[in-house]
Symmetry: C3
Subunit: 351 residues, 3 copies
């Protein structure tokens, strides 16, 4: 946070509040009760941390209305119905300052094809390229140095951050947010082995990104061989994730950073994949499946399952195997001792 807020601005944002104490200067930062320093705003989101309030160095603390304490000199307590909701309101306001709504229009340095259709409320920022036949919806924002290929349709209220590339004949629905460096519509990885060489299989399908999807920085989504690679509504994808051609992903999935999904795999709704997890090709991962970080899914997984490990197993089994693996030195030792004992028994019984 770099944006300064005066105490009165802050109170205007959070709504009805009782204020105790006063501060010198502005609020210039946000921090937890423990880590806050002078100038910071903090909050008591959970009564469990109540004991941290008196020691906190925060200049302003958002507190519940029943909070009894008094602030130190130069500190203000702001008592509100719900401190977490109040903090969210402050964050939303800061977000608007960080990312102010741009003025509509096409920057003179952008290169927009004459037959592209750009909504009058859309913003095409500096040094963007919009190719022939592309459509850019209402209030959609191509921030800077964005590429939109021929025939691609982008819905309303989307935000394509700097350096995003969406290639030809892709579709983004509404409120899609692509972070810097995202690639949508790169070619699927398909080759046929012919006379000692890999011959390219044309990838003439597209990518459909449904509404309310967010995709993290430098993630890559391949176009389908034919038909569509699909990212379901409300799904959130973290940085450096790879989604291969013909993947069909359900709604409201969560893919943490560096996940990879191989071609033609289907994910149900509400699937959650931990960081660096991988999913093999041509698999069906059921609704609500959860996979731990670094899990490697090599077979179909039934709806609702929680899996981990490589190859992925039910999480409870994987945990048990992890523990037993650590006991291997003990097992080998005990086994050696037991072999000796049995040999002695044999000797004595045959004696």
């Amino acid at each position: 946070m770099r944006v300064a807020l005066s105490l009165s601005e802050l109170i205007a944002i959070v709504g009805p509040a009782e204020v105790r104490g006063a501060i010198d200067g502005d609020v210039t930062g946000l921090a937890s009760l423990e880590t806050a320093r002078t100038g910071d705003l903090s909050f008591l989101g959970n009564p469990r941390y109540k004991s941290q309030v008196p020691e906190s160095q925060a200049s302003v603390i958002l507190l519940p209305t029943d909070h009894a304490g008094t602030p130190r000199a130069g500190q203000a307590f702001v008592l509100v119905a719900n401190p977490s909701v109040a903090l969210a309101a402050v964050c939303a306001r800061l977000e608007q300052r960080l990312w102010p709504r741009p003025s509509p229009g096409i920057h003179p340095s952008a290169s927009v094809a004459t037959d592209a259709v750009v909504a009058p409320t859309a913003t095409i920022g500096p040094l963007c390229v919009v190719e022939s036949g592309a459509r850019i919806g209402e209030r959609t924002h191509l921030q800077a140095q964005v590429f939109v290929g021929r025939g691609t349709r982008i819905g309303d209220d989307c935000w394509l951050q700097p350096g995003v590339q969406v290639t030809a004949e892709c579709t983004l629905h509404d409120r899609v947010r692509l972070q810097p460096g995202v690639v949508v519509g790169s070619d699927g990885f398909g080759y046929e082995f012919v006379r000692g060489r890999h011959e390219k299989v044309p990838q003439v399908g597209g990518v459909t990104v449904e509404s309310d999807v967010e995709i993290g920085a430098n993630a890559t989504i391949d176009r389908a061989r034919f038909s569509q690679t699909v990212i379901g509504e409300g799904t959130k994808i973290d940085n450096l994730v790879q989604v291969a051609h013909n993947v069909v992903m359900g709604k409201h999935c969560i893919l943490c950073a560096q996940v990879g999904i191989a071609g033609s795999t289907t994910l149900g709704d509400y699937v959650v994949l931990g960081g660096q997890a991988g999913v093999g090709g041509h698999l069906t991962i059921g609704r609500g499946v959860k996979a731990g970080g670094r899990a490697g899914l090599t077979t179909d997984v039934e709806a609702g399952a929680f899996v981990s490990g490589m190859p992925a197993l039910p999480h409870m089994l994987e945990q048990r195997l992890t523990i037993l693996r650590k006991r291997l030195p003990e097992l080998f030792r005990r086994f050696d001792a037991l072999e000796v004992a049995v040999a002695e028994l044999k000797k004595s019984s045959s004696a």
Copy 2:
């Protein structure tokens, strides 16, 4: 697929054909027999799926000449010598429409150094940068927002898609295809630890990308410390792959998504690395080696071997160990029972 084809256009593309039935409107999609809907083109590539033909909702189906059935109303069967070849011809045509050959010339918004040499048939798209001394070959296409550094030489018929960066003093041979966001020639990761700090080791070598190589979106290829990092002819690299400095890769290798190869490692021809696999530094991986997904190669691997696991082992052994690991709970149970039995035998024998 967004491009519409009339039935007669389609027939013109696939060559000699017998047509049964007729369709309303155009072909607007491509899909498998099972998933096709009205408007789609489908095909019977393998006689095994013959039973899916009567139920398919495809508007047009490419079939072998000996196919006996008749289309439903509003559906057309197109009988050809080889439906797979016919489909490939359609895809190739669609690819041309998706990615039409651009007109030669330098876009006025591009920044091209006066002493760069651009072939008259090359296309330098909008907002590209070509630095001093670079050479761009015949019919090579820098699509948009591409960067080519000083002294870099790019051969004929290459295609650098939006946002590609090739830094100074690199070499691309002919027909190289770089997908969006690829970086060729980033510095190798080399430091010397001097008085508590990591001092940079200059990376003054280059990268040589041989002919017919394709590199996937946001993949990174580091320049050599000195000499060259080499990507051999015909090798195909998927998205988000990392190739470190001084790697020398053979011809016709396949590197699936998110693979990482550490510095100074050599790969023979026809090596195949599954997704998320990793290869340590200073190793020699023999011709034709195959590594499973997520394999971690930590030692040299002999030509022709198939390895998997981390650290990678021969695939058959790794599979066996994976199965035995799952039997650890059983082994511990049986072992405990056996220990009890032996203790009882001991007691009774000493009694």
Copy 3:
């Protein structure tokens, strides 16, 4: 290396030297003694490799002053106090030629906000975007197609290579080097699950990159939820690394390629993480911790520890477990035999 050096230029760079022999033409490459060919410069950095000198095809070899041999025809020996130091001097010179210091000033094709503050000695290359309120320090170089968001402050002597994106309200100190495609300040991956949907948690903090940090191609550093994600002074990060929001990294760390660090984790100074390693969220990794390639750190790790495996264990234990795992087939075989033996003993004792 593409830059030619004459023998006399070379001698001028390395300082006081005794020269034996002479070469035809220029030095046009750099290579090890073993791999050098005509035209290459090589060096004897370690007396161990002395026996390679007579067979080396290098045109020029840097040797210690006490070296006794004589060059072949068309070859020159250059005897210096320290061949490694001499080589470093040559590499530094080559680096200057590869990456010559640019002229200060703002390229006419760049889009720089009128209220951005660009130091007079800074260089803003072609097609860069510098948003409102940003500050660019002395001698800092934005090479080409770089994006710097509103309010971001970049110190002195930084180098942002082509296609780098630094979003709003981030801070880079001095001598920071960002390779092509790096993203600094992408949103942290934070959502709250509300009525069946993932609602975005605003990420209104920033990123602070301290002095002498280098970040590799296409790596991504997320901005904090509030407060700052911190990359400590002198830390070096390789390609395709992911650093999540609120990570606080110490000084002089080394993160090899494709490492991922989850949110709110703290790394002490001098931490080294091998390629493809992963670190879970909300962990504390102590000063000087080393983690092997592909290690998965799922718990706090004490200062100075060396860990490997997934989940990560002390390296010696992990190595032992890896060996014992390979002995599982033997253990199962021996166990089966022992069970039979005990059954026989039981039978005979009960007989």
